[in-house]
């Protein structure tokens, strides 16, 4: 037991040169077989933490051991693997507040993370995949901590407080041999930010992406104000040990440490990329009416816009607008120039500016107004 402890604790003491061997030994030491590990991430960067999850899933032999990873992130909105960010969250509000968007690899719905939200990932072999058992760790820990709180897990793998408020949501991923199940736990998150950001950006989207199911939420600290973060973490670790018959202490890990986790920074870079975050959106279409206006002549016109977006880029775009409002050639130029561009108001604005350059007078005004209307659809 003491040798096991020293193996776990020595990475904290040893210099970087030895860190590779010591941390690797955490995962790959055969003497640790049939054991478990409890890890706590030092990072609050969502991409680094998600990359760490991927790394553990890909590189650690989970047939013989299970791992609990505890982490939290600075404010970020996290969507599920097959979701559409334009329907799930308010991208322009997020841009203004500087809150990034991340797409995780597991399924499920959209969540808002901040430092008051605890994430727990339960890694196990595919045979050991048991979400209710994992949630039992959480509910039992909470019952021991604050027996007056009525917490219960549901069939849909949520955890409800007082039968009504959601304090935890779940998502998971099954790979070839391993699995991970992660869930959130609302300790003291910013609920107003949560509700203002988790609403659609574009109202006119038709898509078959996985929808989120909104639920009323609450924080643990709203009902048990004395519950401290560290207290919660300790209770969860203890219950995890109890439930799985282990005796692990929590070890801090640094997801940016390339020598302990080779390849992790590439994984984080992939998760940060536009191609992953937006480009993996399932195909969707937009169908809406644009209200156009020529202020100088006080004239109005209605046009219909139909767009198909695949992999986050405009695949096809059709604009039905009467010839006497704007020459067909110009509206066709606009739809043409959008094809292949990212579905992003900034890109559309840049394309539109290109088109406007040679125009003047009435055509300019109307084309300008049309471009603004199209940009407004996406934002």
């Amino acid at each position: 037991m003491s040798s096991q402890l020293s193996r776990i604790f020595s990475p904290l003491r040893a210099g970087n040169g030895n860190q590779l061997n010591r941390t690797r030994s955490l995962f790959f030491d055969s003497a640790n077989s049939r054991a478990g590990l409890v890890l706590q991430s030092q990072s609050t960067d969502v991409y680094q933490n998600l990359a760490l999850e991927d790394w553990i899933d890909a590189h650690v032999d989970l047939q013989q051991r299970s791992i609990l990873l505890l982490w939290r992130n600075r404010p970020v909105v996290v969507i599920g693997r097959h979701q559409n960010p334009w329907t799930e969250c308010n991208l322009s509000a997020m841009r203004r507040l500087g809150i990034p968007l991340a797409r995780r690899r597991s399924g499920g719905g959209t969540v808002y993370h901040d430092l008051g939200n605890l994430n727990m990932t339960f890694f196990a072999s595919k045979k050991g995949y048991d979400r209710q058992r994992n949630l039992k760790v959480v509910t039992e820990a909470l019952r021991r901590l604050r027996p007056e709180l009525a917490v219960q897990s549901t069939e849909r793998f949520d955890i409800l407080l007082n039968g009504h408020y959601k304090i935890s949501g779940t998502a998971s991923r099954l790979s070839r041999k391993s699995s991970y199940h992660h869930c959130t736990l609302l300790h003291s998150a910013d609920r107003s930010a949560l509700s203002s950001l988790l609403r659609p950006s574009c109202p006119h989207i038709q898509s078959n992406a996985t929808p989120s199911i909104p639920s009323p939420v609450t924080n643990l600290t709203d009902h048990a104000p004395s519950l401290e973060w560290e207290e919660l973490l300790d209770a969860l670790v203890q219950q995890y040990n109890r439930e799985f018959g282990l005796s692990c202490m929590s070890t801090m890990v640094d997801p940016t440490n390339e020598s302990s986790f080779p390849g992790v920074s590439n994984m984080a870079a992939e998760l940060r990329s536009w191609e992953w975050t937006f480009g993996k959106t399932p195909k969707f279409s937009i169908e809406t009416q644009l209200e156009l206006m020529d202020e100088q002549l006080d004239a109005r016109c209605s046009a219909s816009l139909h767009m198909e977006v695949k992999s986050g880029r405009v695949e096809s775009c059709r604009l039905d607008i009467t010839e006497d409002w704007l020459p067909l050639k110009l509206s066709k130029q606009l739809t043409d120039i959008l094809i292949g561009e990212r579905f992003c108001p900034h890109r559309v604005a840049a394309s539109a500016a290109e088109l406007l350059r040679p125009e003047s007078g009435r055509l300019y005004r109307r084309l300008h107004n049309l471009c603004e209307a199209v940009v407004a659809v996406m934002d």
Binding site: S106, G169, D336, H368
Partner: protein, 435 residues
Amino acid sequence: MLSRSPCVYRTLGRSLSAASQASNVVTRQHLSSHFQRKCQPRLQSSSHANHVRFFKISAVHRDEVVTVNTPAFAESVTEGDVRWEKAVGDSVTEDEVVCEIETDKTSVQVPAPAAGVLEELLVPDGGKVEGGTPLFKLRKGAAAAKPAPSPSPAVEAAAPEAVTPPPPPQPSTPPTAAPAVSAVKSSSAAAAPPAPSTAGVRGENRVKMNRMRLRIAQRLKEAQNTCAMLTTFNEVDMSNIQEMRKLYKDAFLEKHNIKLGFMSAFIKAAAHALTDQPAVNAVIDDTTKEIIYRGYIDISVAVSTPKGLVVPVIRNVETMNFADIEKAINALGEKARKNELAVEDMDGGTFTISNGGVFGSLFGTPIINPPQSAILGMHGIFDRPVAVSGKVEVRPMMFMALTYDHRLVDGREAVAFLRKIKAVVEDPRMLLLDM
């Protein structure tokens, strides 16, 4: 449920082998390994026997097509949505993820059982499937059979050549030759990719030009065809402006809360010169054959962002001082970074400044951004020995280039314009004195 009844599987297996089918049906995951071993060799030999009897023996028909089914779901879940990672025609390696099935907050990966090419996707993206539903058809074998994105035509040429020798012995010993040929084929295909590495891969990759690029290209060519474009050069001694910046940058930062750069000096100098030489700020309207002299100065600043070139515009620069210009540049930069640039921010402009110096350019001819008549290109600042009052001194020098439309701007005007910019940047006091 099917998964809990082994005897059903055995019956299924027997009926499968009995039926003469060209394709194998592989049921995943819940088949016991013992059963798999028992049933597969029979299946394979019978289908290969069919191949020999009814089909021409050639490398292409040698590939098996397997149908992969949806894996059974855990925890009594009944259905999920399919999300395709790969498309028809994509080649996959063994265990590479072909699609993911989303069931009840869980994302389940479905890997390819072997290397091959995806022949058919049997469910649309987002379609619902249950455990056992056929998902996709995979043609086993290496990618050499596929024409389009294969690394080089040389590989395709090599593969058929390699397999022509084996066919002659075929008719005499069909069952044993079958695996042999496929082995030869796969080894030739496997051999082919390594071979190019010794010779040097000579593949091509065609990417369609995106519309924005096409449009810009078209307009640049139009500009080149209509304007009589040529470039005049000059050089600027940056010592004074560098010294001014060194002296005042901290105080500037404190007062205005933004950094003092060099662009503001050049933008202001350009605005001053444009007021002096209105022809450079004007543009020819080819349709009406008129020259449009503009009373305002909107300077477009070409900025290269990771997402492509954007050209935000600073409006009415003639009314601004260095601090105002820096603030405007800063605001536009922030917007660009946050993806908030609107159409108004990028639209129009009477004159463009492009800074190639950030990339280290020494000297170059910028191209006019239509519908304008001129563009100023700034280049890198490099220490050079120059003659100052009869002596050689090392000064930080920058080459500037002005490309202009000679139909509208004369040589004399262009040179005077550039010299004015040089004078102002070398001695900003000229702005105060309106010289």
